[in-house]
């Protein structure tokens, strides 16, 4: 039971990451390949605030999300005028730079040694330090993320984002300030990724740079594409399946040294097959132009 809940908690954190990336990639059409960097910003911010200044994660989490959003503006602003694969490359590069900072700015992040002993969320005199107490927290945040994003995409604002995805030039000719909307979407995505990062940090209670490596961003892209771009429900589906399925590999009795790269191989294969056979994923509406 405990193991099952643990998997669900991890899945919910990835659901938040997928939902937020879908807004950027699936609804606005921006191929953001550095999404995990914003989770890193959120995670390290709330962890350091708690460890160094005793600030409660209840405050640290929103601060982390805001810093991640600022990171989104800083990274998005120069990148946004790049097209397609160049944008993907630039955001991937920024993801790598953030990872490098986490690894090398040892005075701040303790580098490869990571941050152990991250405090849990306090609650009603106790703390949320077990799977039973943490599960409602991640569920709440996953639901909030879903409902907020649902409101956004089903509104005139969300319609503009999708028009940018469909045809940027037509959107411009309709008087829409495309650059502004792209930047806002990118920043919202970063904000929620920051939330996911903090949730991860205060659950696992230990983070190090390897939790936020550049290729992790590609895994999130896979979840969004697999579930279906332009479908929030698809992101929930995609993240859940791709988190739960590798766990099943454990039960087959494969040694970890094989299970881990095998899982990655399946991810890689899935990406290739999706691109060739079914870019709209399971229940998606958008196929790339």
């Amino acid at each position: 039971m405990e193991y099952f809940l643990h998997i669900l908690i991890i899945a919910e954190i990835y659901i938040i990451l997928s939902l937020s990336l879908n807004l950027v990639l699936g609804f606005t059409g921006l191929p953001a390949f550095g999404h995990i960097a914003f989770a890193a910003i959120g995670a390290y911010t709330s962890s350091l605030l708690a460890l160094n200044y005793g600030i409660s994660p209840w405050i640290g989490l929103p601060v982390g999300a805001i810093l991640a959003a600022i990171g989104g503006i800083l990274i998005g602003f120069p990148s946004i005028r790049l097209k397609g694969d160049y944008f993907a490359l630039a955001t991937f590069g920024f993801g790598l730079i953030v990872y490098s900072i986490a690894k090398n700015w040892v005075e701040l992040t303790r580098g490869p040694m990571g941050l152990p002993g991250i405090p849990a969320f306090p609650f009603l005199g106790g703390s949320l330090d077990s799977v039973f107490s943490y599960f409602p927290l991640t569920t709440a945040f996953a639901l909030i993320t879903y409902f907020v994003l649902k409101r956004i995409v089903n509104s005139p604002f969300g319609r503009i984002l999708q028009s940018i995805r469909e045809d940027e030039i037509a959107a411009l000719s309709m008087g829409k300030n495309v650059t502004k909307y792209k930047l806002i979407a990118f920043t919202i995505g970063a904000f929620f990724a920051g939330i996911a990062g903090s949730l991860y940090a205060h659950y696992i209670t230990f983070i190090d740079p390897t939790s936020f490596m550049p290729m992790e961003s590609i895994a999130i892209v896979l979840m969004v594409v697999f579930g279906g771009m332009g479908s929030l429900e698809g992101s929930i589906l995609g993240a859940t399946i791709l988190v739960i399925f590798p766990e099943l590999l454990r039960f087959v009795g494969l040694p970890d040294a094989v299970a881990a790269p095998l899982r990655q191989m399946i991810y890689g294969l899935l990406l290739i097959v999706l691109m060739i056979k079914r870019p709209q994923g399971l229940i998606g509406k958008y196929k790339f132009k």
Binding site: L82, D85, L89, A90, M265, G268, I272
Partner: protein
């Protein structure tokens, strides 16, 4: 002491340039970033190791055979993954994502086959290096520089002076026009993949005698190489040389003052600057789209 850094810069720059050369030739014909090129480089190193050490073939056979296998790997990747996408007229981004998928698949396959430990095809004692201008250079390092120069010259001659080279340039400039004069663009693309992947394989084998082989070597390499190719001017042969050497030198002279852990960040910072300010690279030409 400074000359050593300069020399190290030339050596790693030569390797970057070699891989970038293959990457650029491929880009010229397919016009997307073949990210998986990095894992072909790693595969070349592993294949060289297997043929030479595990199977025991003499280097005179194992090395060319490994290069051939790298070329074949490149062709397989194109035929199985990219060709269907071309048939569907997929946008560049789709190719890039598929390329990431290929990379992840193959890199982890290498990890399963060979394990995560470091390998090396070197046998016997490490030879003493030669002293020159206060720095040390080993035989293998000299080989790297010489082989790179020869290959660059060879590729330059191929592209500029041979019929195949002309066809590659035609497909690169205007694939539709190339078709109307009877050039089979699929075959040209296959040629560029085989040549480009062979170059990656050669680079992998060379570097395996200089440093070691490990499963993630392709990742670090392809990032640098894409930077070198874009900074030098994507698709340009001299651009790959310039970009590769520039990156090698910048890294080695840069770490002189800064901690070596920041090398990646510096390299990517340079890339982003170029993407924003001069996407055509040092040697590239700016183009403007005429119609929308």
């Amino acid at each position: 002491m400074e000359f050593q850094f300069f020399l190290n810069g030339i050596i790693s720059g030569s390797i970057y340039a070699l891989i970038a050369l293959g990457f650029s030739i491929i880009y010229r014909t397919v016009k997307f970033f073949h990210f998986a090129h990095g894992v072909v480089y790693a595969a070349g190193a592993y294949l060289g190791y297997t043929l030479c050490i595990s199977i025991g073939l003499p280097q005179i056979i194992s090395v060319p055979l490994a290069v051939l296998c790298s070329a074949i790997l490149g062709i397989l990747i194109d035929k199985l993954c990219y060709s269907p996408l071309r048939a569907q007229k997929s946008p560049n981004l789709v190719f890039l994502i598929a390329s990431f998928g290929i990379f992840i698949f193959l890199q982890n396959l290498l990890q399963i086959l060979y394990g995560a430990q470091i390998l090396s095809p070197r046998t016997g004692l490490i030879k003493e290096g030669h002293h020159i201008l206060g720095a040390v250079i080993t035989d293998i390092q000299i080989t790297i520089i010489v082989v790179s120069l020869i290959l660059f010259l060879g590729l330059w001659l191929l592209i500029q002076k041979t019929k195949l080279g002309k066809a590659i340039r035609a497909v690169s400039d205007d694939p539709v026009a190339a078709k109307t004069v009877g050039i089979n663009s699929e075959r040209i693309i296959l040629s560029s993949f085989s040549v480009g992947s062979a170059l990656a394989g050669i680079a992998g084998i060379l570097i395996s005698y200089e440093t070691n082989i490990e499963p993630t070597m392709g990742f670090a390499a392809i990032l640098k190489v894409m930077i070198a190719a874009i900074v030098g001017g994507i698709g340009s042969i001299t651009g790959s040389l310039v970009g590769g050497l520039f990156l090698g030198l910048a890294e080695n002279l840069g770490i002189w003052k800064i901690q070596s852990g920041w090398k990646d960040a510096i390299a990517f910072g340079i890339l982003i600057l170029f993407l924003l300010l001069r996407p055509q690279g040092i040697l590239g030409k700016k183009t403007e789209k005429e119609t929308i």
